[in-house]
Symmetry: C2
Subunit: 413 residues, 2 copies
């Protein structure tokens, strides 16, 4: 929506390789935006294994309900994603829109509706006119091609200022497999299961149950560890598909997530998920700075994460970062309000490698000049040691700027 690309955008984009077993096409259906693509069709010519994690919102969107119901079937043939309208809080009309889309997609690619997955992102509460794109899915299927990841990522953007893509390779039993992923998201980002929309596809041959275990574990230190504005979306959807295309190279199918042959794949997948999640934060609405918050010395890892998110969600911490102010007092406030055990007199706080506070007061060697230099950087690391245990977590956020207010003061109208 905003004309300018986030200053935190990647300086270069990876060359996204085509991936065996998946084809894509986009279209401009005019759902909300003019002169841009807003529909993505992803086709798996053979049934792919599938896993998904979704928003924990009690008011999920119609497509989230639809995907959850289909996931038990365990295979995927088509994914339809639209931007511009989230099809959330749309009641009976919303369910009708998902049904129409699924029927059209099933007819277009020749599969059952239970093999179709849907996602929508954009305005909440407005009815979605699915006829706008349901009619073109057949034509889209005909021209869908494999080398199309960057365009796919662009079609699902809303307030994003750049498309988010990532690719990795791994070996499974000596066979090289590829993992490609795309994501969108810039606001309403405080995932509590997955965030916004992200689709990851591999040509590895892995069973759905194993994929689900990998994804559920991988989402915690990646998408579930970032926040832009503490507001959890109704539409959060992260899905992982495995086409099995690598079987032609002799990759033996993997059935369980604890299979040691998946060690390299797991690491590559987790790295890719973190890459995409951080790209979402770096495109946080109005963001000018990226903040990595590491909490050590908490009672447990879970406590460390709650403290980290309390810091990362604090408007006062985030506005201080925007103002390049090393305001450690607000870090203390956020630790204190987290509800987790903390002892003021054992706390230590660093900005970058400069310790600003120790043992419950300002570091005796505190240097305003050194700290100011760190706060002027684009990427700022904050570390808080609680001094109580060995719990540890890292979360990521961006600063809170006037541009965030401007973007969200007139998004709908």
């Amino acid at each position: 929506m905003s004309g300018a690309v986030s200053p935190l955008a990647p300086k270069t984009y990876p060359n996204m390789p085509a991936l065996r077993g998946v084809r894509m096409a986009t279209a401009a259906a005019g759902i909300k935006y003019k002169n841009r693509t807003d529909v993505l069709l992803m086709v798996f010519d053979a049934p792919a294994s599938v896993a998904g994690v979704f928003t924990k919102s009690k008011c999920p969107s119609a497509p989230v309900d639809f995907c959850r119901a289909n996931l038990s079937h365990g295979t995927a043939r088509a994914v339809v994603v639209n931007s511009g309208n989230a099809n959330a809080f749309t009641g009976v009309k919303g369910r009708a829109a998902t049904q129409l889309t699924a029927q059209s997609a099933a007819a277009a690619v020749g599969c059952t509706e239970s093999e179709v997955y849907l996602a929508s992102t954009g305005v909440i509460g407005e009815p979605l006119d699915a006829t706008k794109f349901a009619g073109v899915l057949g034509e889209m299927n005909e021209r869908a091609q494999g080398d199309f990841w960057q365009d796919a990522a662009s079609a699902i953007m809303t307030t994003d200022t750049y498309p988010k893509v990532a690719t990795r390779t791994a070996e499974i039993g000596g066979v090289t497999v590829t993992i490609n992923g795309i994501a969108k998201g810039a606001g309403m980002i405080a995932p509590d299961m997955a965030t916004m929309l992200s689709f990851v596809v591999t040509d590895a041959d892995i069973a759905s149950s194993a994929l689900q275990a990998l994804l559920s574990a991988g989402v915690e230190p990646s998408f579930n560890s970032v926040t832009v504005d503490s507001d959890t979306s109704t539409s959060d959807t992260l899905m992982l598909f495995a086409t099995g295309g690598a079987a032609v190279d002799g990759q033996a199918r993997v059935e369980t997530a604890d299979d040691p042959r998946l060690d390299g794949f797991r690491a590559a997948l987790n790295d890719l998920l973190k890459d995409l999640a951080l790209q979402v934060v770096r495109d946080g609405e109005g963001a000018r700075k990226m903040v990595e918050v590491t909490v050590t010395g908490a009672e447990t890892d879970a406590a460390a994460k709650r403290i980290g998110l309390s810091i990362a969600n604090s408007p006062l911490v985030k506005t201080a970062v925007a103002g390049e102010d090393a305001n450690w007092g607000r870090i203390v406030m956020a630790v204190g309000k987290s509800g987790e055990m903390a002892d003021r007199d054992r706390l230590a706080i660093w900005f970058g490698d400069v310790r600003v506070a120790v043992n419950g007061e300002r570091d005796p060697d505190y240097s305003e000049a050194e700290t100011s230099a760190i706060m002027k950087q684009e990427d700022i690391a904050v570390r808080v040691d609680i001094g109580l245990g060995s719990g540890r977590a890292t979360v990521w956020t961006c600063d809170l700027t006037k541009e965030y207010v401007a973007i969200n003061g007139d998004y709908r109208s």
Copy 2:
């Protein structure tokens, strides 16, 4: 700090009557600000009953620790409040500062240190030089007078744009008693027990244990139901003192909170607490609009309050209000992320008296013009009916504007 007074400030201030048994003085000690008062001394010539509620922060300020420890003694003779420095996260030096202040106050008014109460507000993490005001408490005691409430409220301001005062009367056993209160607070307002600093004094003769019960109950629907920015202060302090001055008119001392003679007093106290709490929200940093969020039909009152606070703390809801955008989709999002039971298909949402959504979708009679007219008002009522039970709560917040970001991007430096 900001030059302009909040547009939501009261149009008129009440005439604050002197109250039997309490005297006050202020001084300009130059703790942080130039050319303004920043210290308040409140003196009770006879021991007053006392009650207090404090921040639930795990990293409370040194004065909060000090007050909590003294509260068990049950009487008060002096209160010392300073603005400009919160004496929080100041470790051993912070405790030394409270001790010096308490000793000086005790010597000045002729009482024990256990009868002294302290509060500090301002920057967190900077050592407080208590010698700046400890030396003047004797002189302040000498000139302290009863008719001084407005000045007292001004001396404890930080980013506040106006002093917050309120007064009520009630009858106890046929004797008229007065309740006066002051408060400060504009940012770091998400009370989880009490918010920021507020001091309430009555000339009624009521035992401390009864006062405490009244205060603990009264704080819930008032200070604990407002939020400016979801950030809970390290210094939240709300204290209630009863001087017993009304005993000369024949008011018989009340020992327990459930005494029916307190019915009128309780109502007046609760009304005063709500008055002060709403004044805090109306001075929310950068606020241009006041929002009252009422949740009905939740499973329980507690669930309704959590949903209400989820809405009131949502940056996306608050920026939409700033942009005069009746964005009910963000209300749905906030209901969904609250974690409380909700059924999308039973939700109904009103802005003012205009129902914008019902049964999980836009109201068929929705009028953009009618809703826009409401969003342009200064005071906006939002109601959400969950449709599940009879739980009900009302909370208050303000909008999130670029001015909030500006104020907090350069507060410390």
